[in-house]
Amino acid sequence: MRVLKILMVFLLSVTLCFTFGVSSSMAADSVKVGIVLPLTGAQAKFGEVEKLSFDLALEEINAAGGINGKKLELLIEDDTGRPEVGRSVVEKLITKDKVVMLGGGYSSSVTYAVAGVCQQQAMPFLVNTGSADKITTSGWDWIYRLNPPASHYADAVESLLVATIKPKTVAILYENSLFGTSGAKAFEKTCNKLGIKVLLKEGYEHGGIDYKPVLTQIKRLNPDIIYMVSYIMDASLLMKQAREMKLTPKMFIGGAAGFTLPEFVENAGKASDKVISATLWHQVLPFPGAMDYYKKFLAKYNRDTEYHGAEAYAACYVIADVLKRAKSFSNTDVKKALSETDMMTVFGQVKFGTWGKMLNQNKADTYVVQWIDGKLEMVWPEKASTKKFEYPVDWLKVWGY
């Protein structure tokens, strides 16, 4: 049939197109690293902060001589927030672009799927944001993680609770993604340990319009604290609707992510005030370059940055350091250099080790921030804080009633 003949010609010409349409950079004196981030889709805002931070760090690294004279090149690819796209993208980076290592990894589900590929292909992967515990507890030795796992996100919150609020009951709300589910599970464990009764633990599908039904239930149960693990838009809606319902626990606590982004205060407005959240970084921390990074970012991009950006920025420096120390760019040498990492970054000290069931995990501290008058202030631990933790809070007054 003519159809099939034409089809074959098409196939042939496309194949030729394939072989000639090679990726742009074939420069022999650059070192390529693949970075996988969500540049479009629901998590694009986070991906953007990280990409801009990577760009900023890259500029500085290359200006200072790159990798022993060679230019460092970051191939930043969009995983669109979906795990299967992440996998395809990573396969492309590994087999077609021949990167020497991988970085990035924002969403836990995407990071987990991508890490599986890297482990199988023996490609070193430095995760800087994906937080689900599974990523480093699966026995995958090619995966290294800069940020703390979800189970430790609330460590600082824990000490804050014990020292000040001393709640007896809690309601936990979380997005039913890998990130939300891990965060919620981890906090539940913490509560059980501290003897705080979990009155309600409910997962929701992201993108909901109306949270009033579950907030009504929570209001009836009247817990001392409400812990929420959400990405950006849900976080804003939850707080806005809590305010509408006059739901007044002793404290609202966010499990990082959506609660620390500038978009949270932009969208939730008054409802965001005095809300606290776990966080992994703040610009006032005594890490060399932390405040500089914050100021440089603000000056260059005219927007705030926060812990996701710091993770990316620090990760870029770690990558550069690793590649400088690596004896060659083979995967085993890069892996060896990664294992031997011991450096200070804007995110803190980075050193990978084995903790409990976790492999190649960096031990990083967590902190608590509070939105005070539209600014994200660090309030715990006290010795590093910028402002005193405001508690107790007269929510109705704060909300303008």
């Binding site: 479009t40 319009i209 949270y211 009033k212 009504t216 809606l237 008054k270």
Partner: protein, 294 residues
Amino acid sequence: MDVLIQTLVAGVLIGGIYCLIGIGMSLIMGVMGIINLAHGQLMMVAMYITFVLSSYMHVDPYFSLIVAMPALFLLGCFLQKYLLNPLMKIDSILPENQVLMTVGIGMVLAEICRFIFTSDYKTVKTSYGGEAFFIGNISFNLPMCIAFIFAVVITLILFWFLAKTDTGRSIRATAQDKEAATLMGVNSTRITIITFGLGSALVASAGSLLIPIFYLFPDIGGPFTLKAFVICILGGLGSTVGAIFGGLTLGIAESLGATYIGMGYKEMVGFVIFIIALVFLPGGLVGIKRLIKS
């Protein structure tokens, strides 16, 4: 008790917006028999128009109804005239081509908006955005109440239009029996164009009313299209009154499901109702009325 009342209130209020979405689709389905899978995307376009008006010209979302509705009316007419009507003449194996065409249209609309506005979440901030008033212990979200009132007003205007004007009556006639209507002198081509425009304008109003409460992104359309189906089937195709029942029923059912079964199952409530309605209530809730009568 409070929990139940709050749940019902939330359900009814959101049901008002659902009604507007459902009536539009019901009209289109009733008159042309087209399953419009681009319904949610039409709403999205209206929401972006509202967003632009609000951000750049500081027009209150409720006033932008005046712009969004006619704009979508024209868009709907255009789509029907140039993309959907021609399909009725094409001879193809599967009659479902119209449905698939709407899928394509929906995709193109979403992508155009994504190209212009990116995938970022956009919000429209109003001074009364998060306001609520209280009757007793029950919280009433102000924008949603306003939206509900608008929905009622628009629906009433629609009913008047369908009952009292020539065009409206022609639309109802075509919905009942297209051939008979044509024999009676109704220009069915023109009517289909107007109906699609009208359906689009209605869903546009839902979008403008929704944006102060929710947020906006290019992929917002899909779930709402599905909700529109549930409402239509539940209410009985082509029946505007049915769509009202359908919208309120869905709103309340979702709310009850969220409170008493669990938030994760909220979406499922709609679909289960949908399937039950499809299978056991072919005429929708309005069909039950007819059954009882006969």
